[in-house]
């Protein structure tokens, strides 16, 4: 199947394929520090292991961004 990850097409042969699988494939080492949207809707972190990604889905992930001056 073809999915769109951060706007880029990716061919996925694994089935079923979850959000957690996607983050591993994209070498995200700390999944708890990313926010994920599947077809424009936020995915809860506790659902990363169970929500499946299907052909044609658009999935975006962004890293937490924060810091401090001290």
């Amino acid at each position: 199947m073809i999915i769109y990850v951060n706007g880029e097409p990716q061919e996925i042969k694994q089935q079923p394929f979850t959000v957690a699988d996607l983050l591993v494939l994209n070498q995200v080492e700390m999944p708890e520090m990313v926010s994920v949207q599947l077809n424009g809707e936020f995915v809860k972190r506790e659902d990363y292991q169970t929500i499946q990604i299907n052909d044609g889905d658009e999935i975006d992930f962004l890293y937490f961004m924060g810091g401090g001056a001290r």
Partner: protein
């Protein structure tokens, strides 16, 4: 290397002064090493020594830019009263191995801007050039 258009650099300074004493933050976008866009973002912490972006705002900007062929190249934040170098917290909370971390310091008489790549706690300075 990041090449930041002079007008963008001046926008960063203006925005940082407007937001001071809280830390200003946002995305810098463009293509390759050329920064041509600045999008201010809400500092959810609204603090003088912390910043945190709102993921919903982040997604909106990234998608809007994507439609125009603009890539997020750097996360910008200001240090109103400390130097332009990553703090311990900046380093600890830097999880994106690909993006540049740009810090603008308002300490002293002249603003100072620096950029860094931060991967797994290792900080690498990155040259910044202000271009016309």
């Amino acid at each position: 290397m990041l090449k930041i258009k002079k007008e963008i650099y001046l926008q960063l300074i203006k925005y940082a002064w407007e937001e001071a004493p809280i830390e200003a933050c946002g995305y810098l976008g463009g293509s390759g090493e050329n920064v041509t866009e600045f999008q201010p973002l809400t500092n959810v912490d609204a603090a003088e020594d912390h910043f945190r972006l709102d993921p919903e705002e982040q997604f909106k900007v990234v998608r809007n830019w994507r439609a125009k062929g603009i890539k997020p190249l750097a996360v910008f934040h200001s240090h109103p009263e400390t130097p332009a170098r990553p703090s311990e917290e900046d380093i600890r909370l830097a999880f994106d191995p690909n993006i540049s971390y740009v810090i603008l310091s308002l300490e002293g008489d002249t603003p100072a801007i620096k950029s860094f790549k931060i991967r797994k706690g290792v900080v690498e300075p990155e040259a910044v050039e202000i271009v016309d």
